[in-house]
């Protein structure tokens, strides 16, 4: 009974002390929550549009494609203009009128024809590494889009030129058939050979550039709808080259000519198929579509809200506990505790119970606030969420003891608590995924109770299931280890003199 009375003394004292310091409550709980509320209500879901100038040389044949591309980027970019003056565009960038300038090269066509890539230069004024990364990504995807647009145009013009190819193909087939007949009869095979060689060379010339482009597309985007055509064209060119090298009709094998005739038939069929295909499908045979298997929609605020909850719970409890212990030491109350019949176990348990009660009340209010005022989804199990918060409270109380034992004054305790908060923001997975860190840091991060708290609360509230249930065990183990450490170190410090 006396043990309960003594433990209860600390429970009551801690709760009364916190309630008597409304400023502390405001700064530690309501303040961060109000900031989260502002963050949630003020955050735009879409990325801010980047003010951009496109610089395209006057004589460029890709100007039209660039114009089309620029118009298609209205979600990501605010196009301030498509102009020719690069110096003016860069001047405006330096002045801060725009954030990005895309400069397309002069004589791009000539460069490409010369077998080199035409360079698109992207200038920007971002110092934020994440924004810089986004611009690099945009540059890659943007240039890819322009490339595809150019290719689409090439394919389209190739298809449009198919009438000429059809005539040449028909002439080549007729010549080969005639050659075949004359080789088996008495005609002038030599003259027919020369005619066939000329028609075949004309066909190869007509098909060559377009199919070379198709070959390039296939190399980058993998085998697609044009693969059979390319295969047929390759077979045709091999046989055609063989026939083209023959000088004397008597040296030609009739079977060889028959094979060429078959290959021309195949080529004709494949060309028909190719002409019927959409240029979009030929250039981009694959289209991507991401489908989330988790139910419900998760907005940016929803994603951060459970992490903020975990962070607030840890920071609040660590600060309360640390201040309580350091102030007792500064006041000299420990002197009284050492003389009194109260044990360290009663003191430690009393504080744990007090801060668990206060933390539970505040955390419940925060959770309800997140769900009902910010509309954060709660698709998981309440018992798991509450267990996570409970374990987080216990582990954070232990951490608060350690902070108090490291600090000599209350201002030092607040500083250490702030350092812990900073470490928690960076290493808990709150801002950046844990996978982005080196393994050593990832393991160190797991020593922070908030790390497991963030994983568990995000999973349970937003996914409705734990993807890493081991974190629940980890948090429980951490709570036990911190309790034992807090108890032993607190006793050692209390009786150290």
């Amino acid at each position: 009974m006396r043990r309960i009375i003594r433990t209860g003394a600390f429970v009551r004292k801690e709760i009364m002390q916190v309630l008597r310091q409304p400023g502390l409550m405001v700064s530690l709980v309501l303040g961060p929550f109000a900031i989260l509320l502002l963050f949630g209500s003020g955050l735009r879901e879409e990325d801010p549009a980047v003010k951009t100038i496109f610089v395209v040389p006057s004589d460029s044949r890709i100007a039209q494609e660039v114009e089309q591309f620029a118009q298609a980027q209205s979600e990501r970019l605010t196009v301030e203009g498509v102009q020719q003056d690069e110096e003016d565009a860069l001047r405006r960038l330096r002045r801060g009128d725009v954030q990005m300038v895309l400069v397309f090269p002069e004589n791009a066509e000539g460069t490409i024809r010369g077998g080199e890539q035409a360079q698109v230069n992207v200038y920007h004024d971002q110092i934020d590494p994440l924004e810089t990364q986004a611009i690099q990504l945009f540059t890659r995807t943007g240039v890819d889009e322009i490339n595809q647009q150019v290719l689409r145009e090439l394919v389209r013009s190739g298809q449009e030129e198919s009438a000429d190819v059809d005539q040449r193909l028909a002439a080549a087939k007729a010549s080969v058939d005639a050659l075949n007949q004359q080789l088996s009869g008495d005609g002038d095979a030599q003259q027919q050979l020369q005619l066939a060689q000329g028609d075949l060379a004309g066909l190869a010339l007509a098909l060559g550039p377009s199919l070379a482009v198709l070959g390039g597309i296939q190399e980058t985007s993998g085998p697609g709808e044009s693969a059979a055509l390319l295969e047929a064209y390759q077979a045709f060119t091999a046989s055609s080259d063989q026939l083209g090298q023959a000088n004397d009709a008597s040296s030609i094998d009739a079977q060889q000519v028959s094979q060429l005739a078959d290959e021309l038939d195949t080529l004709e069929q494949e060309l028909e198929t190719f002409q019927s295909l959409s240029p979009e499908v030929i250039v981009s045979p694959f289209a991507g579509s991401a489908q989330r298997v988790v139910e419900g929609s998760v907005q940016l605020v929803d994603f951060y809200a459970p992490a903020v909850l975990a962070l607030l719970v840890q920071h609040m409890v660590v600060t309360f506990v640390a201040l309580s212990i350091v102030r007792e030491r500064e006041l000299g109350t420990n002197e009284l505790f050492r003389a009194a019949p109260v044990t360290t176990a009663e003191m430690v348990i009393g504080k744990y119970v007090a801060f668990a009660i206060m933390g539970a009340v505040i955390a419940t209010a925060l959770v309800l606030g997140l769900i009902y005022s910010l509309g954060v989804p709660m698709v998981g199990s309440w018992p798991i969420v509450l267990t996570t918060i409970g374990l987080l409270l216990l582990a954070s109380t232990g951490l608060g003891f350690l902070v108090a034992l490291a600090a000599n004054t209350d201002s030092q305790a607040v500083q250490y608590a702030m350092l812990l908060l900073l470490a928690s923001i960076f290493f808990s997975g709150f801002l950046l995924s844990l996978e982005r860190f080196r393994p050593v840091l990832t393991w160190l991060a797991r020593v922070l109770p908030v790390t497991s708290g963030v994983v568990l609360l995000r999973d349970e509230m937003l996914r409705g299931q734990l993807t890493q249930p081991l974190h629940l065990t980890l948090l429980a183990v951490l709570a036990v280890i911190l309790f034992v450490a807090a108890w032993r170190l607190f006793r050692r410090r209390l009786y150290a003199s």
Partner: protein, 374 residues
């Protein structure tokens, strides 16, 4: 109220057996020696006063006895046990008042007292006891006041209430009257005496040397070393080498007469005291039988006597004389220490401004102890 002596104490219940005993007790903080080879015994049902200048080791001694600190060497025995081995029951039987207020500024006076009662395991039905001690320290009307809004004097009174609340057998009170107004200070000492009369033991440190008169035994501490332990009367004897008589005559006393007085069998020492030369301070072995003899001797010689009375020197003088006996080189330092202490720790704290009652109380105390202040 009467002065108490060791003899009186022996007649009280429980008196006679040491409840606190130290043997060569020392406490060092690095190179600094706070308590040096302290040996003392405090008998049960007595008030043991511990007096010394600031930094003399009083608080450290109390902390060692209460088990708040552990000794560097030597031994402490309280209730027959080392404080480090105290059981819950023994700790519950000790009341401890630290030198400074150590309670919680954001809690009210009543909440703080309730907290202390709880950590002593006092059961829920303690309301009457809490009200009683608050009433005693005159804080009932302020019980809802937060401690940080309370004056320094109120905080001391709360600390005393906290030490008394568990009705302990042994009380360690570190400067319980500092910052307390004289009337209340007197009330506290009366209560300490009644506690002692009930059989409790009080170990009290004080910066007011005059309060030594309320103690049964007094230990004088200086620079961590115990100079002496004695009753208040015994200390006066030690300081002056006997009892003192003050003689005032109508005319200037000539040197021949001083020489004649010094030659009397019952006189140990005589010297002129007043600026006008009409006073003489005479030290004798026992003042009571000597005063009528001296009166007769003066009458026979036709000396016009205005007064001849026993003089009880103030304890300030007693302590200065006692520490003077430690050696001439240390005298200045000790006197300065006491003076510094009075200057640094005024009898009336800033938060409790001196009142007219302060001087009245001093006069009242002088009446009680027979002291006259020069």
């Amino acid at each position: 109220m009467t002065n108490t002596t060791a003899h009186d104490a022996a007649e009280r219940p429980g008196a006679g057996s040491p409840i606190v005993h130290t043997e060569n007790l020392s406490k060092h903080f690095g190179a600094q020696v706070a308590v040096d080879e302290l040996t003392l015994a405090v008998e049960e049902a007595t008030i043991f006063g511990f007096i010394g200048p600031s930094g003399s080791g009083k608080t450290t001694t109390v902390r060692l006895l209460a088990g708040v600190q552990t000794p560097t060497s030597g031994s402490v025995s309280v209730f027959g046990k080392s404080p480090g081995d105290f059981s819950e029951r023994e700790r519950a039987n000790i009341g401890y008042m630290p030198q400074l207020s150590v309670l919680f500024p954001h809690l009210s006076i009543m909440e703080n007292l309730r907290f202390v009662a709880s950590i002593y395991g006092m059961p829920w039905g303690r309301r009457a006891r809490l009200a009683e001690v608050l009433e005693f320290v005159e804080l009932t009307d302020h019980r809802r006041k937060r401690l940080r809004e309370a004056s320094g004097g109120m905080q001391r009174r709360l600390s005393l209430a906290a030490a008394l609340v568990n009705e302990a057998q042994l009380l360690f009170l570190d400067e319980p009257t500092t910052g307390i107004d004289p009337v209340l200070r007197r009330k506290f000492w009366d209560h300490f005496e009644s506690l002692r009369d009930e059989g409790r033991t009080l170990f009290v440190t004080t910066q007011y040397v005059g309060e030594a008169a309320y103690c049964d035994q007094i230990g004088v501490l200086r620079e961590g070393r115990l100079l002496t332990i004695d009753t208040p009367e015994g200390l006066r004897r030690q300081a002056y080498g006997g009892e003192v008589i003050d003689l005032i005559v109508a005319e200037r006393i000539e040197q021949d007469m001083i020489t004649e007085v010094q030659r009397l069998d019952y006189v140990l020492h005589a010297q002129r005291t007043r600026v006008d030369g009409r006073g003489m301070r005479i030290t004798v072995d026992d003042a009571d039988p000597v005063i009528p003899q001296l009166q007769r001797w003066l009458d026979e010689r036709g000396v016009p006597v205005e007064s001849v009375d026993r003089y009880l020197p103030p304890f300030d003088d007693v302590f200065v004389k006692l520490v003077e006996s430690e050696g001439p080189n240390e005298l200045t330092g000790v006197s300065d220490a006491f003076e510094d202490q009075e200057a640094a720790e005024p009898a009336i704290s800033v938060s409790d401004p001196p009142s007219d009652g302060d001087w009245d109380e001093l006069v009242e105390r002088d009446d009680r102890t027979g002291e006259t202040r020069s």
